[in-house]
């Protein structure tokens, strides 16, 4: 498999009052494992259930309750790690992160600080054709989600729902390799794409199944390169963490705002304070969460209710063998083997369902032509109806049939579009429709010749002009096409017109 080669994108530069600034961004993405049951309990993970109904005694931290780990969640973390070309740790362990919060019943979150299940990996973040950023992954660990506190149901009380408590999350931690708001959004997009290919997380950001904490600092041009050379963070500015964002748009807005806030502080001679901040989309600004952070000291220590998590290399190998083709490989294959542009390959591989559809259409056909039809006609039409590829009224077989009719010369491109609309709205076998509705191209040269003769006979003045200016042949072709209702084969018409006019 050929790998595509990429240039590194230019970092975003923000002009301050005094000089230019660059951004340095690292991300912690929390991806909910697509499992039936929770990480350490047998309660369901289903979204939107009645409050406190998807709760086992262990989730509610009842006295004496103990965690037992869900094998599937472990497998999904390993699968994700393999998908990010990361090191899998056969020995990992769970730690408790201690803090008090009403939606954290145990008073601690079970996480993996000291020995995560997945180590270093990487993600190629596509920015434009031929341009991509390689972002290093530091680690992935498994941890419990917290419950939900609802603050607006009562003026004096907060209400706590534990349905989400204990749902398995994969925390995917990047190195600070992201260099601008667009890159940050593209990073999350790419990560989401890979997770969806792997099937380890549904990527539903609206439900909070994928959320990002963003660490941002600013530096002067050149400083980041020094950091990269030495891995010494002192070359970078003090970072702030913006918590819990679940929209690509907000991620970009928040980074933009936060970078400018930090620049203003530093240029005014101040110092950025390392802290956790929240993005308020209504006001378009980040604000400090210092109140919540007060005296935080998580007192991590190994969870004595769990033994170390030991997995076998053979088990990891089995998971590796079951991995699907991932977006980068698929895209490269579409470009190198099917002759697609990187852009088209990118569009088609964005969702695995799209890519699968395309591959069925392209099977035994011209790849580029299939890509054109899938991207321009089908996607365009689906978008108009706000439909997903899985709801497409046109099957890959039907679309392939239309393409075959064009390739055989049975229909023109223009007729094909009409045919596509018929198939889309009414269904049916494209070849049959062409036959039944007389949409077939006229390739019978006798009939075309007769039509050409008629046009020539009716327009002697045009004939004279065409002999001086051969470009006017096109006018005759147009007239013939019109006369035949568009069904004449345009190439045949052109050849005959040229011959008859003696051009």
């Amino acid at each position: 498999m050929l790998d595509l080669t990429y240039e590194t994108p230019k970092p975003k530069v923000i002009a301050g009052a005094k000089h230019d600034w660059e951004l340095v961004i690292g991300m912690e993405v929390h991806a909910q494992v697509a499992s039936n049951a929770k990480l350490f309990s047998g309660a369901s993970t289903r979204f939107g259930a009645e409050p406190n109904s998807n709760v086992a005694f262990v989730d509610a931290a009842m006295p004496g309750m103990l965690p037992v780990i869900n094998d599937f969640c472990v497998a999904q973390a390993v699968r994700t790690g393999l998908g990010l070309k990361a090191e899998i740790n056969l020995w990992s362990a769970f730690d408790r992160k201690n803090y008090f919060y009403p939606d954290l019943p145990q008073g601690y979150q079970i996480s993996q600080l000291y020995h995560p299940i997945v180590g270093e990996g990487e993600i190629l973040v596509d920015m434009a054709p031929g341009v991509a950023r390689k972002v290093r992954i530091e680690r992935i660990h498994l941890e419990q989600d917290a419950g939900k506190s609802i603050h607006d149901m009562d003026p004096a009380m907060s209400f706590v729902d534990l349905n989400r408590t204990g749902v398995a999350l994969m925390e995917i931690v990047s190195r600070p390799d992201i260099r601008g708001p667009e890159e940050a959004a593209a990073y999350v997009t790419k990560l989401r794409q890979i997770l969806r290919y792997l099937g380890t997380c549904d990527g539903n950001m609206q439900n909070g199944n994928l959320r990002a904490d963003v660490n941002i600092s600013i530096c002067r041009p050149g400083d980041y390169e020094k950091y990269q050379e030495t891995q010494d963070f002192s070359h970078l500015g003090t970072r702030c963490e913006i918590k819990n964002m679940n929209s690509m748009r907000f991620i970009q807005q928040a980074i933009e705002y936060e970078a400018r806030r930090q620049i203003a502080i530093v240029e005014a001679g101040g110092e950025v304070v390392q802290e956790t901040r929240l993005y308020d989309p209504e006001k378009g600004e980040t604000r400090s969460m210092r109140s919540k952070e007060e005296a935080h000291d998580y007192r991590y220590f190994p969870d004595p209710d769990l033994l170390p998590l030991e997995i076998e290399q053979a088990w990891v190998d089995d998971i590796a063998a079951s991995l699907p083709e991932l977006p980068d490989e698929k895209k490269a294959r579409f470009v190198t083997e099917m002759g697609l542009s990187e852009y088209d390959a990118g569009v088609l591989t964005a969702e695995v369902a799209n890519a699968d559809y395309f591959e069925q259409v392209a099977e035994g056909r011209d790849g580029k032509m299939a890509a054109n039809w899938v991207i321009n006609e089908l996607f365009g039409r689906l978008k108009k109806d706000d439909k997903d590829i899985t709801d497409s009224p046109v099957s890959p077989g039907q679309l392939g049939g239309i393409i075959d009719l064009i390739a055989k010369g049975d229909i023109s491109g223009k007729i094909a579009k009409d045919l596509f609309e018929i198939v889309y709205t009414e269904g049916g076998d494209p070849a049959r429709i062409v036959e039944d509705r007389g949409m077939k191209q006229v390739t019978d040269t006798g009939a075309i010749e007769a039509a050409v003769d008629q046009i020539i006979a009716d327009n002697p003045a045009q004939v004279e002009k065409a002999k001086v200016n051969p470009k006017l042949a096109g006018w005759f072709v147009g007239q013939v096409m019109k006369a035949t209702g568009g069904k004449a084969n345009p190439k045949a018409v052109n050849d005959i017109v040229q011959a008859k006019l003696g051009l």
Partner: protein, 95 residues
């Protein structure tokens, strides 16, 4: 290592246990007695010794991903000091 009043107060805060100011000196004294006792551990040569991760030779067992629990909100809430409309109620949390 000696624990002063400020440290004692900080620890009480971290543990979310209200300790009145006038009780802090006695608390700090007790801490110091206990920590003095604990500090004997500094005599032990622990170079190259792995911290114990589990006292049992068992391996962590993993359960299947099957929903076997839940669907009992009334039992989850039955002991709650304040439950309303299916939720646990607590004094307003300021974000």
């Amino acid at each position: 290592m000696s624990i002063d009043l400020e440290t004692a107060a900080k620890v009480a805060k971290l543990a979310r246990i209200k300790v009145e100011d006038d009780a802090l000196p006695a608390l700090a004294d007790e801490f110091n007695t206990i920590l003095g006792f604990i500090e004997q551990l500094n005599e032990v040569d622990v170079d190259g010794v792995e911290p114990m991760t589990s006292v049992t030779p068992q391996r962590l067992k993993r359960r299947e991903d099957v929903v076997t629990d839940g669907h009992m909100p009334e039992k989850i809430l039955s002991n709650a000091p304040d439950a309303r409309e299916g939720f646990f109620a607590v004094p307003k949390v300021m974000e």
